[in-house]
């Protein structure tokens, strides 16, 4: 398995998953295509990256563990495993791995000759240290914490071999260990107090953190002693081409795009659909579409309380909103409508369009059946005096403006059939608060994880119980023993076919229960200037890696 193929993974996987058109559109519209072959790489130059995400409070993705952290951490941290072009998990820092018969013991052997940027050698001790770091409550990890939830303890067998003792078989463990949130950091570095480690985590990646000017930029510089776990002969040099990356935070979408257009920055993320579209229309800008794995972007209907505890009402709502019209107008065909629980990059996802076609007439009749027959002064439906009203806390940090507008449209079209949708725009903290207090009927909570096992996190009844962080992922409040059973088995079987089949059944239950309204993949669009070449390589969670990227002179 070679690195540059990894670079092409996105193209091929794009073809495989039917989003080629977008990617090609993005690439062909740029003066050079997204992959590294079109021009001979030149070394040097510092790439300026402008992120629209809120500046992370900690550069160590173990702490908390959100996508902005993954985006930046992918440059200086590497994981034990990664994903190849077919979406298959393959070793990265790890050289090989095997699991015991009972599936309760996982042995991982590391590659040789890989060092951290603090000079220390990568040893099995690192695996132990990192997993323990993730599980230490003081780390306050949520994503990584859940990912290694089943690991009871880690034994260091020798310099390069560690043994993970599991509480239950977990065929998603390798997927979990391929994510940046479980990336391997220097044990020595982890010893430091959290503030220090947050400021400059130490990994094995192609870049390292040089400095962090808060609110301004994270300055990354090339890791001169970078050893690619998988050597790539086609490359002129093992280390990254770029001297460094200036990782800036420009929350204003318009400003960010202006900066890109005027060449002040080279790459922007969270590109606005309209700007993507205009870039596609013969702009010189390149476009990289890297849908995130795991769950699709969807609305979850809180089935634990009225009115959505009634399946009829849930379906009624889903039928009442015209998602497609909104997506076309707001996303300019940059986002493809999804009818699945899982991201389009997940092989095991199933989708069922029929369930989600807008049908106001049906919505009305369903509501009539459900007994919401009265109409109050404002034209909303009501049942024994109580208005058919649903609260919809929206996190302004997680929903881009276009998505917020989409929700506003839902609000409007749902009103037509008699739903009152109370949209509450909240900052992340208050949003978590609202969820923690079950003060929601509708919510859009994107969840990124490699592999279908995300389904367990999202729909297993255990996930209705808050994790120590106070967060619970099963926002739809699905409590279905049959489903629980399917998800548990699916995660423990060692037979791929059976696994796929079990997950299919599970998804069917959730879809047909109208617990969720799938919208589209978790959008992950990057725009870059014509001078930027070699974009395309990403981690298993679709966060771009800039090892192959260079700036054309």
């Amino acid at each position: 398995m070679q690195r540059n193929q990894r670079a092409r993974r996105l193209l091929s996987s794009a073809a495989a998953f039917g989003i080629a058109s977008i990617v090609l559109a993005g690439c062909s519209s740029s003066s050079g295509t997204g992959s590294a072959q079109d021009a001979t790489p030149v070394s040097g130059g510092t790439l300026v990256y402008a992120s629209g995400d809120a500046e992370p409070s900690c550069l160590d993705p173990h702490v908390g563990g959100n996508y902005p952290q993954a985006l930046v951490a992918s440059q200086y941290l590497e994981s034990l495993f990664t994903k190849d072009s077919e979406g298959k998990i393959i070793p990265w820092l790890a050289e090989s791995t095997e699991v015991s018969e009972d599936g309760l013991t996982r042995t991982i052997t590391l590659r040789e000759g890989i060092t951290f940027t603090d000079g220390s050698e990568l040893t099995a001790q690192a695996i132990k240290a990192n997993i323990e770091h993730l599980q230490d409550p003081n780390t306050a990890s949520s994503t990584g914490y859940l990912a290694v939830g089943k690991v009871d303890q880690v034994k260091v067998l020798d310099e390069r071999t560690a043994e993970l003792k599991l509480s239950a078989p977990d065929n998603a463990l390798l997927e979990s260990l391929s994510m940046p949130w479980t990336a391997i950091q220097s044990p020595a570095a982890l010893e430091r107090d959290q503030a220090t480690n947050c400021a400059a985590p130490v990994g094995t990646g192609p870049f390292k953190v040089q400095s962090w000017e808060h609110q301004q930029a994270v300055n990354l510089v090339r890791n001169e002693n970078y050893v690619p776990p998988v050597a790539d002969p086609s490359r002129t040099q093992p280390t990254a081409y770029l001297d460094g990356i200036t990782w800036r935070f420009i929350p204003e979408a318009a400003t960010r795009y202006a900066a890109l257009a005027s060449g002040e920055v080279d790459v922007i993320d969270n590109a606005q659909p309209d700007t993507i579209a205009s870039a596609a229309q013969g702009g010189t800008l390149g476009h990289l579409d890297a849908p995130r794995p795991g769950a699709s972007n969807r609305l979850e209907l809180n089935s634990s309380k009225a009115p959505f505890n009634d399946a009829k009402v849930r379906e009624a709502f889903i039928r009442s909103v015209d998602v497609n019209a909104g997506i076309t107008s707001l996303f300019f065909d940059t986002a493809k409508r999804s009818y699945s629980l899982l991201s389009s990059v997940e092989p095991l996802g199933i989708s069922d369009e029929a369930l989600f076609t807008a049908d106001p007439a049906k919505a009305n009749s369903l509501l009539d059946q459900a007994g919401w027959t009265e109409r109050d002064a404002d034209g909303y439906r009501a049942k024994d005096g109580k208005r058919l009203s649903v609260t919809f806390p929206v996190s302004t940090n997680q929903s881009v403006p276009a998505e917020q507008s989409l929700f506003e449209q839902f609000q409007a079209s749902a009103k037509a059939v008699g739903f009152e949708v109370k949209i509450e725009l909240l900052d992340l903290s208050s949003w978590y608060g609202a969820l923690a207090e079950h003060d929601y009927d509708l919510v859009s909570a994107p969840y990124t994880k490699v592999g279908p096992s995300v389904l367990r996190i999202l729909y297993h009844s255990d996930s209705t119980v808050p994790a120590p962080s106070g967060y619970f992922a099963n926002n739809a409040q699905v409590k279905n023993p049959a489903l629980d059973k399917l998800l548990t088995e699916a995660e423990q079987t060692d037979d791929e076919a059976q696994r796929a089949q079990l997950y299919a059944q599970a998804q069917k239950i959730v879809l047909e229960g109208y617990y969720v309204l799938p919208l589209y993949d978790q959008q992950n669009h990057f725009l870059y200037g014509a001078q930027v070449k070699g974009m395309g390589a990403t981690t298993s969670v679709s966060s771009p890696i800039y090892t192959d990227v260079f700036l054309a002179k």
Partner: protein, 310 residues
């Protein structure tokens, strides 16, 4: 009154003001419904761990009676210890040390620019005919009525996206400062001009202006020696106000132009309910304001010891 006494009184006043602000904030924190510890750590859903909450309780003495808490609170502030921003996981004073200079420089530049523009306007208005004066009046009023956030966006669209003359975001260079400073300066200039034109007109038509002319001074000399002094006084009176309005504008400008600074920090601190941060920033901006006021006071005493013109 003697300069020393003046300084002493200023200092006393400043301390009282800071104390009042601090007290208000203290009360404010207590007014937040729910567990104050949680509030300090960023409200519900901030996912503050039990340890963190315990730490906060200890740090702010939340288990103690209110009076004790109050004294502890003041004590910390007196020692310039604003605690640690839970959101940024860094000492508030560090953050302050980073952002405050940036914002103050921005504000000062904007202030200077606004003054320059205002003086220019006022001078032009003197020469202008009736229509010109009317037009000038309109321009300055409209300028004063333009919201920063709108002006900023428009400037970016025109000078950065369309013309590509100036960078949209702060890139450390002087060019990066032009648009933000303009965004802040233009509305303020509108206000200042409104003030200056009136007082300038009165000054230029006054007896002493006539006397100066009778002495053989040229119109320009009279404008420089007399007109400007009198014109600038009322505007100078406002410098404190102007500066604080600039700090307000800085919030928006720093967001739009992606500049680090007090305003942006405060905004994110507010969004994250980062109370230690908010407290620190509020007190610091109060401090800045007080300093500026003292400064302008001093300048006024220099220009106009007898307070003749005010």
């Amino acid at each position: 009154m003697g300069t020393l006494g003046w300084a002493a009184r200023k200092l006393g006043g400043a301390l009282v003001v800071l104390w009042l602000v601090a007290t208000a904030i203290f009360i404010g924190i207590r007014l937040i419904p729910g567990d104050p510890a949680e509030a300090i750590m960023g409200g519900p859903g901030s996912q503050a761990s039990a340890q963190a909450l315990a730490a906060a309780r200890a740090e702010f003495g939340l288990d103690q009676p209110a009076a004790v808490q109050y004294l502890m609170f003041l004590g910390k502030l007196a020692r310039l210890d604003f605690g640690t921003s839970y959101a940024l996981k860094r000492p508030v004073t560090d953050v302050m040390a980073e952002v405050l200079p940036k914002t103050i420089i921005l504000a000062l530049l904007a202030l200077a620019a606004a003054w320059a523009l205002a003086l220019l306007f006022a001078a032009l208005a003197m020469r202008a005919n009736r229509f010109g004066a009317w037009l000038g009046g309109m321009v300055e009023i409209v300028a004063a009525a333009v919201p920063h956030f709108w002006l900023g966006a428009v400037l970016i669209m025109v000078f950065s996206s369309a013309l590509g003359w100036l960078p949209a975001v702060d890139n450390g260079t002087a060019a990066g400062l032009v648009l933000p400073v303009l965004t802040l300066a233009l509305p303020l200039a509108g206000f200042l001009t409104q003030l200056m034109r009136d007082s300038l007109a009165t000054a230029m038509s006054s007896q002493f202006a006539l006397a100066a002319r009778a002495r053989g001074e040229s119109r320009l000399a009279v404008f420089w020696r007399h007109g400007l002094r009198h014109a600038s006084l009322p505007a100078l009176n406002l410098t404190g106000w102007a500066f604080s309005s600039l700090l307000s504008g800085a919030v928006v400008v720093e967001v739009i132009f992606a500049r680090p600074g007090l305003g942006r920090s405060l905004l994110s601190a507010v969004l994250a309910r980062d109370i230690p941060m908010v407290t620190g920033l509020a007190l610091f901006s109060a401090l800045v304001y007080i300093l500026v006021m003292a400064l302008t006071d001093a300048v006024q005493r220099a220009i106009d010891p007898a307070g003749a013109a005010s």
